[in-house]
Symmetry: C2
Subunit: 125 residues, 2 copies
DNA sequence: CTATAAAATAAGAATCATTCTTATTTTGTG
DNA sequence: CACAAAATAAGAATGATTCTTATTTTATAG
């Protein structure tokens, strides 16, 4: 994997965002800054970079993958009203984090986990 | 919502499965038994039935929704090798269940949660 | 600093899943 | 049975993602 200028840009721009864009949303954003970028490159590079753990892929949105520059463990809330997808730290999540650590410790074969809560986001509440 | 013969068949056939098919996989399976069924009806009815809680929709499975006749709370494992998607009870999950109950109790606005582990399934291990 | 091979990219065509449209059929109810 | 509402079949339309191919960029050896 070559860390090309384009790939650096992708990582950089994704890390600036607090949202979790789908590949095509991110493409629309990127092309404003680098108009020559092709949609295929965005899809390809988001896959490449996430498979190497350099960005996070959220396989949790129903129909479409979303990408996140924040690779630390955190949870997401999918709003049942507006469909938005936001970072989310639920009340009481300390024990959840512990449980997940424990499970990871006990199970040799678990690489990762993905949790999405569904409910009302701040705006819709 | 009218519980038509077709919808009864859909629920019945889905409950027979231990897999968690995507809508189109399930359509392929169904049409073997009821060849006249249309793909749009399968998509529509899986949505209708899951929105009423009669079947489960797994919105955590990667790019595509999967459907599950088992509506009880349980977790899933996505195999990082073969891509399979199976029911999964991780070691140490008692504390996870408690944490999730606690979070649900504390947070008025959470309707649901969806957890998918990634790792090796039994066959690939 | 070239030459070369490998990797990455742009452009847009192709594919594939999902949704939409419309005419027809089924269902529930008087 | 007659009617209205709901559901369905069929396939067209849409929209996201992947594929193909020619070109460009990158890394490396000489």
């Amino acid at each position: 994997m070559v860390l090309t200028t384009q790939r650096k840009t992708i990582i950089e721009e994704l890390k600036k965002l607090k949202t979790h864009p789908t590949a095509d949303q991110f493409y629309e954003l990127l092309r404003k800054k680098t108009p020559k970028i092709s949609v295929a490159s965005v899809y390809r590079n988001l896959e490449v970079l996430s498979s190497l753990g350099m960005i996070a892929k959220l396989e949790t949105s129903g129909a479409r993958n979303r990408f996140d520059g924040d690779t630390s463990v955190h949870y997401h809330l999918k709003c049942s009203k507006c469909g938005g997808f936001v970072d989310f730290v639920p009340e009481g999540s300390e024990s959840l984090a512990k449980s997940l650590d424990k499970i990871k410790g006990l199970n040799m074969n678990i690489d990762n986990f993905n949790i999405v809560f569904t409910g009302l986001c701040g705006k819709c509440r």
